[in-house]
Every structure is written in C-alpha cells, then in structure tokens.
Symmetry: C2
Subunit: 249 residues, 2 copies
DNA sequence: CGACATGTTGAACCTCATCAACCGACGTGG
DNA sequence: CCACGTCGGTTGATGAGGTTCAACATGTCG
C-alpha cells in the first residue's frame, strides 16, 4: 500500500503532497519546491520505533505526513515525560543543532517526509521564507509547551485528562466510530496508548484509566472502544479542563 | 536616578550597553544598531509590576537589561503557573503577534530596553540576521520549556527544588553574601519569592519552604538569609535534581 | 507600637502512586 | 482446536507525598 503510494508520488512528488500547503514547505517558491522535492524521501515508521535519538546526532529533518510522533525525555532512573506530540503537518527536528535533547518516537504507524540535514540547511540559507515558517512553528510549539506547563503544574488528574481529550478533539481528525454505530456526535481517535497519556500528563496508567472511567460515568465522554471516544458536550468538557476560552490553537 | 542614567546614555546608547553583544542586537550591523538605538528607550519596573498583559495587545518588545521577569499563566479559578523566567539579556515579547497568551511581570526590580513593535518589526524585515537571532532564542526557550515539563510532570517536590536551585546557580550571577561572611563557596541569589518558586514548580509555598529546610538539614545548601544560599557540592545537588549531565544550557 | 508582608512549622486530610489481581484480545504452538 | 503466555487496559486496597488550614516567627513600614 505504501509502495503504491510512493510510486504514485515519484514524479510530481511535492506538488501532490496532501500536507503541502499547510506544512513549512508551503513557504517555498515553485523552483525551491522542486529542489526540495529532489532531496526529500518518504519513510514509514512502525508504532514504537525510534525516529530520532538524543544519543547520536540526527542527520535529517522531516514533515509528519500521517500518524503521531511523540517527543520524550527520560530521567536517569527511567521516569519518562512526553514533552510534545507532533501531528501532520508538523515539522520535526531541531534547526541549527544536530544534537537533540529528546527522543522522537512513532506513537502509532507514522509516515514522514524526510530531508537530509545538510541539503535542507542549505535551502534554509537561501530561502528566508522557509526560515520564517520554521520560526513561526517554533513559536507555536513554545506556546503549546507553556500551555502544557500549566496542565502539568497546576491541574488535577481529572482536569489533565479533560485537557488532553480537548487537545485531541482539536488536533486529531474525526474518525468514524468503528462499532458502526451511527451517531450525531463526532468521534475522536486516541492516537496514543494509556501509558503514553500517562507520560504526557505526568500521571500513572492506573490514574489515567480511572479518570477516564470517571469522565465516562459523568457522561462527559462516551467510549466506543479503548481508542475511540465521543464528546456529547464539548463546552462542558472544556470547562472541566479549566479552559476559559472555548477553543484556542 | 533613571533620568540621569537615560541622559547619560542618550548619545551612544547601544554602543555602551552592557548586554549588547549577548543580546539579540548583537546580530546587528553598525548602522542597524544606530537605527535600533534611535527607537529604543529604557524603562524601569518595580517588583510585582505588570510589564505585558494577556488582556490587551502589547505594542513593544524589550531586552532584559537587569532583574528577572516572570511569565505567568492563570487558570479561571486563580491557580497560577510561571511558564518562564527571563534573565538578562533575554528578549521579551512574542514576534508576529501582538496578542499574548501570558503575563509578563517584574519578579524584582527590572530594567528593560524597549522597542516599539512597529519599528522593530520593520527592522526585522530588513535584517535577516536579527530574525535568525530571535529564532535561536525561541528554540532555546522551547528547549528550556520542555526541560521544565519533565520537572513539573515527573519530579518530586525535593527534586523540583533542587532543579530550581541548580537553574539559579546556572543563570543568576553570583552575589556577595550579604551577611558579610567570607566564604570559599559562591553565593547565589534567589531572584523570586517563595510564592513565585511555588508557582514555577507547581507546588505550594509551604512545600517549598519545607523542602528548602530539608535540603538545608541535609547540608546540600546553606542559607545566608531568605534570598541568598550557598552550594557546598554542586554535583551532589545536580544529582539530587535528577540531572544526568553535570551542566547544560 | 501595631499592622502587614513574607516565611516557617505543625497537624489533619486527600489526591494520586503503588502493588496486586483481573479481564479480554491476540498470537503461538502443541 | 484449545491451552498458554503476553500485552494493553481496568479495578481494588493501601499508603505516601503534598495540600490545606492554622499558628507562629521575623522584618518592615506607617
């Protein structure tokens, strides 16, 4: 399935890219895009696979085409914290420094569009628009990271879970309910395991599980299966999450 | 006092600036610097004063010349989280967006070098080096924010305090011990109150206080007074903080 | 001097982590 | 085919770490 897709894209690769206009490459002129097309190549990663490590220098950048990438940090004794989740069409990689301070792992199956570091940085030199776009994304990630610091530092387990579900409802695409039950409410897909949710929220798996069932018994969410949920009243969930604004980002 | 200082600087302002080469303006050419000098002006803020608010648009950027600025976010019910501490020569303000998602407040007395938003953004257009420098700082802030997410999500109160003290030991200048006791060990100054430490670490004031005394009874730190402390063995403190690396940033 | 702000200490309570058992889905191999 | 182990998720019982409420100490300012 991927091979067919790749073959399809082989000729006018970037032009046909689904995330093209939303991704950083949207900043590129026609001929710059052609240059990028020449140096880029797609790669697939299976769930759990390490994409970038903090151990050895990373020699490429990437755009997320599909799937979710988690950025993790680990303490010497093994405690782990997810410091970022990257969805399509986010850009992956730390500009100006091949050394990373975190891991990038595939949360589920992931498709990336990869660019060799050297070629990409050369392109970066010649295209101020591209650097500007990367800057913008970095600022957005900074905003998101700070937003999440509030979640980690000041919210209860219940609020953390609610915040996470709201985040998913904002960022993840609506998925059809696999049970086949037709419903008026949109159904969302949890792109990560319970363990990942715990690592993202600074909780344990058990607490995550308990708080989810608590939200369920409060009828603030409905579960189709372990990975799919519906939100009858998004405003109510938002309020429980402690969001004053109905929607941001 | 400020007026005298300002008058003094009126002629060769930026050239004589103490933080010039370390701040973002270090990226500027001679004549760009002259342009910046023309639009910049110093402002002082007393402890606790709001510098930028998330309520109304901010019409200026600034460099921190001295003092510490805290970036705070507040939940609807009043819970607060500090999402960043800016020291000299950090840059203050969100490029490309006059709307802020956080407050900037003076932690102690603060001196800023302010630039009107419009003029500065014009300068930004014409000087790619300046934008690059801002980008670099944004990436560093992002790294710092993510580093802090680990502290908030996964560390114990004790480790949080140790992490904070290590942060101060890295970033704050060494201060002479006000008690006058000459000592072989360097003395650091806590630039924020206990309440601010609590808001930065996701704790309560009481816990902060207790953990500090615990570190003191363990002889990992020594207190001159409430704002000044010494670290007999920085490596030990670092280890307690959960830093595998002796020093980063 | 008393009022106030900032910081410390004590006691009781509560949230969440820990340890453990259990459940269903899945794959494997006898 | 079913027993078996494994993996991801749920649920229960218990306890520790941190919050909460309260009192107290110290320093500053009117």
């Amino acid at each position: 399935m991927e091979t067919l897709y790749n073959a399809e894209n082989e000729r006018a690769r970037c032009g046909a890219c689904a995330i093209r206009h939303r991704a950083v490459c949207g900043a590129l002129e026609r001929e710059e895009l052609a240059a990028l097309s020449r140096i880029s190549h797609q790669r697939s990663f299976a769930a759990g696979q390490v994409i970038m490590s903090d151990q050895d220098p990373v020699d490429f950048f990437a755009n997320v085409i599909s799937g979710v990438v988690k950025l993790t940090k680990t303490l010497p004794d093994g405690r782990q914290q997810i410091v970022g989740l990257q969805f399509a069409p986010d850009f992956l990689g730390r500009a100006f420094s091949p050394a990373h301070t975190y891991f990038a792992e595939a949360a589920g199956d992931v498709e990336l569009c990869c660019f060799p570091r050297n070629s990409f940085e050369a392109l970066l030199q010649s295209s101020p628009g591209l650097e500007h776009r990367l800057f913008e994304q970095a600022l957005q990630e900074l905003d998101a990271a700070r937003e999440w610091m509030v979640v980690l530092g000041r919210k209860t387990a219940q609020e953390k879970i609610a915040s996470f579900l709201c985040l998913i409802a904002r960022r993840s695409l609506v998925a059809p309910c696999p049970r086949g039950a037709v419903s008026a409410q949109p159904t969302f897909e949890l792109p990560v395991s319970r363990a990942d949710m715990a690592d993202f929220l600074g909780l344990t798996i058990e607490t995550v599980s308990r708080q989810i069932t608590r939200l369920r018994t409060k009828h603030l969410i409905r579960l189709c299966d372990h990975q799919h949920f519906m939100v009858p009243d998004l405003a109510a969930l938002n309020e429980l999450a402690g969001h004053d604004l109905p929607a941001l980002h």
